[in-house]
Symmetry: C2
């Protein structure tokens, strides 16, 4: 009763959406990914840093290179998913701040001194954007299968560079047969929220 979001949208994005472990063969098109991005790009980040970068792993050869770095339990579904995306943080995001945060010209210089500070900001804000992206995949009527069980250092070396840190890999597609494990329990409100 306290939410204004349409109940069908609540179901689509959160209540009935699940992490899929199997997928149908139906392809995920670039148009769908563009529609997802064009929605979730508006999600907020600190100073509009927008550090998320996405690598779509489409060629069979690239897929094979990725699968070998997934943990054993994630290999089969990553090999089979219609589309697989590597979500990464751009640690040199400050280079884009003159474009992204134009009313504060000093923004880029604030981050120039410390790579450690940039990495911290990039990781936090790319993680926010990764969550927006997962919500966006669901908004496209697709299931997302986000995974952190993989050799992140190897994926970085294979697909990215020193300036881009992978956060997770996401399988994307229409859910297939027996796509879901039973829903895991969630923490009770009073175990998560306190008031002072």
């Amino acid at each position: 009763m306290s939410l204004v979001l349409d109940p069908a949208a609540q179901d689509l994005l959160f209540r009935e959406a699940r992490t899929a472990n199997t997928f149908t063969d139906e392809p995920v098109t670039d148009e769908q990914v563009q529609a997802i991005y064009d929605l979730v790009k508006f999600g907020p980040t600190s100073m509009n840093q927008s550090p998320l970068r996405v690598v779509l792993v489409r060629s069979p050869e690239a897929r094979e290179r990725l699968v070998q770095h997934m943990s054993e339990g994630n290999q089969k579904k990553t090999a089979a998913a219609p589309l697989v995306a590597i979500l990464a943080a751009d640690n040199e995001f400050h280079e884009e701040l003159p474009q992204l945060f134009p009313h504060f010209p000093q923004a880029k210089d604030m981050f120039a001194a410390s790579r450690e500070n940039r990495e911290k900001n990039a990781t936090l804000n790319a993680a926010l954007q990764a969550a927006y992206f997962i919500i966006g995949v669901r908004a496209a009527g697709l299931a997302a299968g986000p995974m952190t069980g993989l050799d992140l250092a190897a994926v970085q070396k294979e697909f990215l560079d020193d300036d881009h840190t992978p956060l997770m890999v996401v399988n994307i597609g229409k859910p297939g047969p027996d796509a879901w494990f039973p829903r895991g329990p969630r923490l009770a409100y009073d175990d998560v929220v306190t008031t002072v």
Copy 2:
């Protein structure tokens, strides 16, 4: 056209939603926060870690203690917002894994050895949940004002403990007069997404 989410929901959550800088006096109730939590708790995290913890800063005395640790540009709005929440990561989340990930009893032990690994997992997954929470605030018809411009170490000392790392502070309420800055530009699809 590629999205199945209702356009009104797209607007509510992403396209028209904005980071508010002013708020009306209308209170944000515990019932609203509970409804937000009960929606966004279903957002996925690695191994269902669910490390997000929320401190609602309701008393005037606590609000005052928080405001002093905000950066100057964030003090006035944090003092005025109907509700302010500190979003934090529980670095001891593994204690809850026997409850949250019951089909894999070794999960807790996997994280027992390394606090550094726990912090990394907690930060990433609490950031995902922070994004779900921001989306949930919008789903309740409220505006969120997430902020990282604050003395996080001081906020941790003042409101949390060594096991809980604050990620951000979020002002929550109905937007007031002149609530928005002009929308910042976003990166083009081709600057964010590459294909291999």
